[in-house]
Symmetry: C2
Subunit: 226 residues, 2 copies
Amino acid sequence: MTSASPRPNLAIAAYRQLKRDIIRGVYAPGEKLRMSHLKERYALGVGPMREALSQLVGERLVTAVSQRGYRVAEMSIEELESLYDARAELEGLVLELAIARGGDDWEAGIVAKAHALAKVAEVHSAEDMLDVWDTRHQAFHSAIAAGCDSPHLLQARTWLFDQAERYRHLWLCQTVFSAEALDAKRQEHAALTDAILARDTPTARAMMREHLMSPVPIIKEVMQQR
Amino acid sequence: MTSASPRPNLAIAAYRQLKRDIIRGVYAPGEKLRMSHLKERYALGVGPMREALSQLVGERLVTAVSQRGYRVAEMSIEELESLYDARAELEGLVLELAIARGGDDWEAGIVAKAHALAKVAEVHSAEDMLDVWDTRHQAFHSAIAAGCDSPHLLQARTWLFDQAERYRHLWLCQTVFSAEALDAKRQEHAALTDAILARDTPTARAMMREHLMSPVPIIKEVMQQR
DNA sequence: TATGCTGAAAATATCTACATTTTCGCTAAA
DNA sequence: TTTAGCGAAAATGTAGATATTTTCAGCATA
């Protein structure tokens, strides 16, 4: 989603921080984002701040009503289900194309990332786990998707991913600190890798769909507790 | 991509005009968008202008380099092929889901829009043709896609569509004013409608893919003439 | 004579501060 | 209990100041 800039300007820096804070839950869904508060928190003028907020409106993480300011986008069970369904279907399509189009480099990439992901528990402390596991988990799935050889499908995938990241964060906190959950995921990843390397499209696609939808009930529970 | 606002502010108005101008080719691909010129042309200050440009950067219609201003995004044969390939694959997925999930209302919508599209030539003058045909053509395809019952897949579809609109505009000008091309399209739409109503997923999906990819050679020719 | 380098000047992007318009919350009266 | 009015707060837009980039003329060198 971001291009490498030699020196990011203030608007881009604000965009990154604000996006991170929204995903991390620093601001509650539906909360009003007052300019005076944002100006103080990020030490910026209104110009760059409005630019950052505009970008986030485009990504559906913030909503804007003319003359009435900006708010953090709402979260709902309906959106959760629609979003994860869309992600699962798109990821299935990308996977099918990747199996059809991917070469040896693609396979090697998957094996490498799967290995790194499987070994993550042995190497790092509990505190670093969340960030490290998430990073390697994303890298694993990105390696699979990369084989579809379609930059624009990958863009669409990233776009849906960003929209889901607030929900995903709820799931991450529940999963990463549970040894059983992590082990279950490790087995799913291994089976998925096997099916992909065997180029078994129907099996791999079904497994991928199930793998992506499995967090939904867990996230639902967390959301209903609030 | 846009939500209905009771009173759009200047930034949104500027965004709409600028986007329209870029798609219509008022600015050449790669052209530098100087603030002084934009301010004069749209009679606005730099604040709203920067906001509008930020939105367009998010949609990949404009590129920005920090401290070096904004430029109209480049166009290339490579992007054309990647974009149309992604669109065709995504539309195929959406169609498959729509056939699986769509009900009677969905079928009725398709038949209605197909009818309106088929009759467009008899009703309107040559000058209005481009706008009217394009509007009804989009409505026809949107009616098909709507059956997938996934707002977020439809959002992704719209997003890819917006990115392709500059290329599509080149094709439209070549097609709408050719009686044979219009007739060929009419037959494709009729056959597609039949396959969909028969719920013949493999046939419909293949036809949709071919239908969406058919403009590519024509656009390539137009682009190479420049 | 052609080519590459240096430095100043112009142009441009970016940011902060201020003015204007609109909205929201509170109080009081019907 | 509802509604009208008042004041504070917030959002939007404009203008000007600052820093960066780009351009180009002049000079040295091959």
